[in-house]
């Protein structure tokens, strides 16, 4: 961009900041948003404590399921399910509320008058939710694996792909959900359908292999199931429907999830672009 160099005589010679770049804009927005999150007790409480409460519940559920399904790897599923739950709460739920809040305060509209592009505004707002979600799930994932002596992940690359798909889909779903949410308070209700689908239908709370076959097949097609199943395949070498494989074999087990997951990411992004609202309805 040559505009700065050719800018006309109006430039005055006192202290002037650097050229604005995408990274600088994301950091500036992310920092402001992080400050807001830290000052919002309710949001912080929901983000930090609710997933932990659910982990305790999850442990009980899995133990009960193991009684009727011998061979269910409760420890692995507990750590995996917890990581998924944290991401769902901290990224999807928290971010939906953040988008609704900023829209209501006309912040999104004001941001659009500046140099930041639309996608930067949406991602910048997501920076603290993503950071917190990744930190917490890394803590639980690594801590849980070490504490419960879980095996080393079979295919970390596949885990990463699953993680990126899961985060991308959840950010897009948060933007989409915010379009149907009027106030921050009502976000608890409008996010419920997706939250339930993620927890009950994506194999986080109830492993797909303990479900009746037809139900499991339907659940495999739900929006966030493929992404979470990719994380599971990469971690343990199987999504529970077949014996565990090695690094190379895991790619085969991942194939169908990669396809459906990418399709859902595309649909969620399309929906977000189509329905997202930058300012409140009058």
């Amino acid at each position: 961009m040559t505009t700065a160099a050719t800018a006309t005589a109006t430039a005055t010679a006192t202290a002037t900041g650097p050229q604005s770049t995408t990274v600088r804009r994301l950091l500036a927005l992310g920092r402001a948003e992080a400050t807001l999150l830290l000052r919002n007790r309710t949001a912080l409480f929901t983000a930090l404590l609710l997933p932990l409460v659910l982990i305790v519940t999850l442990q009980g559920t899995l133990s009960k399921q193991a009684e009727s399904n011998p061979g269910l790897d409760v420890d692995s599923l507990l750590v995996y399910g917890s990581v998924g739950m944290i991401l769902a709460f901290v990224v999807y739920y928290n971010l939906t509320a953040a988008y609704v809040g900023r829209r209501g305060e006309l912040v999104l509209k004001r941001l659009r008058t500046g140099e930041a592009r639309d996608i930067e505004i949406l991602l910048g707002t997501a920076v603290p939710s993503l950071t917190l979600g990744l930190l917490m799930s890394a803590l639980i994932g690594i801590g849980g694996s070490l504490g419960l002596h879980l095996a080393v992940p079979v295919n970390p690359l596949l885990m990463l792909v699953g993680l990126v798909l899961a985060l991308g889909t959840m950010i897009a779903l948060a933007a989409l959900s915010s379009a149907f949410t009027r106030t921050v308070e009502s976000a608890g209700i409008t996010t419920l359908p997706v939250m339930l689908v993620m927890q009950l239908g994506s194999g986080l709370f109830i492993p797909l292999e303990v479900m009746p076959a037809q139900v499991a097949d339907v659940c495999r097609l739900l929006p966030t199931t493929p992404a979470f199943q990719l994380i599971r395949v990469g971690w343990f070498g199987t999504d529970g429907s077949a014996p565990a494989t090695d690094f190379l074999g895991s790619w085969g087990a991942a194939g169908s999830h990669l396809v459906t997951g990418t399709i859902w990411l595309g649909l969620a992004v399309w929906g977000a672009v189509r329905y997202f609202r930058w300012e409140p309805r009058r």
């Binding site: 961009m1 604005s20 919002n40």
Partner: protein
């Protein structure tokens, strides 16, 4: 890239040609802007006036590049502000009608966030000092008064030392003192060469600040020019109250138009001094005391009111009143 900088030596910083803007689609939509032409030269302060719903903000949004026009062209600094926003935005500053800053951030934190998103930003403290908010930097936005929020908004628009500044009703909600200081600041900016396009419905603001102005009505520019040009040809006005039962016939004032409403008489004239002399001579001759005597030259306010009502009479069929009755508060907003 090097050669894409417009080579035209044009001093027209903002060029708007036959601008149209439709809100909503199909026949249910609303034709907010109907063929607006505007030119703002470098270093000029241009005011866009109009009744509520005249299309000022709709026009501004397109010039700012926040929305695409339905028809016509817009050039800001020689470029299309919508399709070439990456090139235009770093050189302009925008202040919207309503704030848009998170209540839980302090003024300084707000400034820091904006500085991170603005090329060549001046120091945040300097920007806050500029609008007289230096002492309020640690205060959360939600605790700022309405006027202080407005000034914070202005500070953010000025952060990048813009060449072109867009102000949508900058002094609405300010007390007289704050308004005077915003006016002083805007004048200083213009003295430094900043081009300013502002909307306002305070006519004194336009009279005070604008080099040129345009009056919009029904999505069109009804008249434009310098304040003197817009006022030119508009009659001056004398008004007074006649005591009851004078029994004396009203004087014949050449070149003036007389309206009587009860005891109140209004005279419109293009020759204020002559007409006033005649009137006062008549009153002295008959020993009549003229109550509440008031004589004033044509003002922008009168020109504005006259133009607005003329326009309303001229084009009622295509006026948007029927399409959007709720937004029409004609003239009521003019002060």
């Amino acid at each position: 890239m090097e050669t894409s900088r417009p080579s035209r030596p044009s001093d027209d910083v903002i060029e708007v040609t036959d601008l149209h803007r439709h809100h909503g689609g199909g026949t249910s939509g609303y034709h907010a802007v109907r063929g607006v032409d505007l030119t703002v030269r470098r270093g000029e302060l241009f005011a866009l006036l109009g009744t509520n719903g005249a299309g000022k903000t709709s026009t501004m949004e397109v010039i700012e590049g926040l929305a695409a026009p339905t028809g016509g062209t817009v050039r800001v600094l020689g470029r299309d502000p919508f399709t070439e926003r990456a090139a235009v935005r770093p050189r302009i500053g925008i202040m919207l009608q309503e704030g848009g800053f998170p209540g839980e951030l302090t003024a300084a934190e707000t400034g820091r966030a904006w500085a991170g998103m603005t090329s060549g930003a001046r120091p945040v403290a300097e920007a806050l000092e500029l609008v007289g908010l230096g002492h309020r930097e640690k205060v959360r936005v939600k605790q700022l008064s309405g006027g202080e929020k407005r000034r914070l908004d202005l500070a953010m628009a000025l952060l990048g030392r813009p060449e072109v500044l867009f102000l949508d009703e900058p002094s609405t909600g300010l007390d007289p003192e704050a308004r005077a200081s915003v006016w002083r600041l805007v004048r200083e900016l213009r003295a430094q060469g900043t081009t300013v396009l502002l909307t306002t419905h305070y006519l004194e603001e336009a009279e005070e600040l604008a080099d040129r102005l345009a009056i919009m009505h029904g999505g069109q520019v009804v008249t434009s020019g310098t304040v003197a040009e817009v006022i030119a040809g508009r009659p001056s006005r004398i008004s007074f109250e006649l005591p009851a039962f004078t029994g004396t016939a009203l004087p014949v004032l050449t070149g003036a138009e007389l309206t009587v409403d009860g005891g109140k008489v209004t005279v419109q004239t293009v020759e204020l001094q002559d007409t006033l002399t005649d009137l006062l001579g008549w009153a002295r001759h008959h020993g009549i005391a003229l109550g509440a005597l008031d004589a004033r030259s044509a003002s922008l306010e009168e020109a504005f009111l006259a133009i607005a009502s003329e326009a309303a009479h001229q084009n009622p069929p295509q006026a948007p009143a029927a399409a959007r009755p709720a937004r029409r508060r004609l003239i009521g907003s003019a002060r």
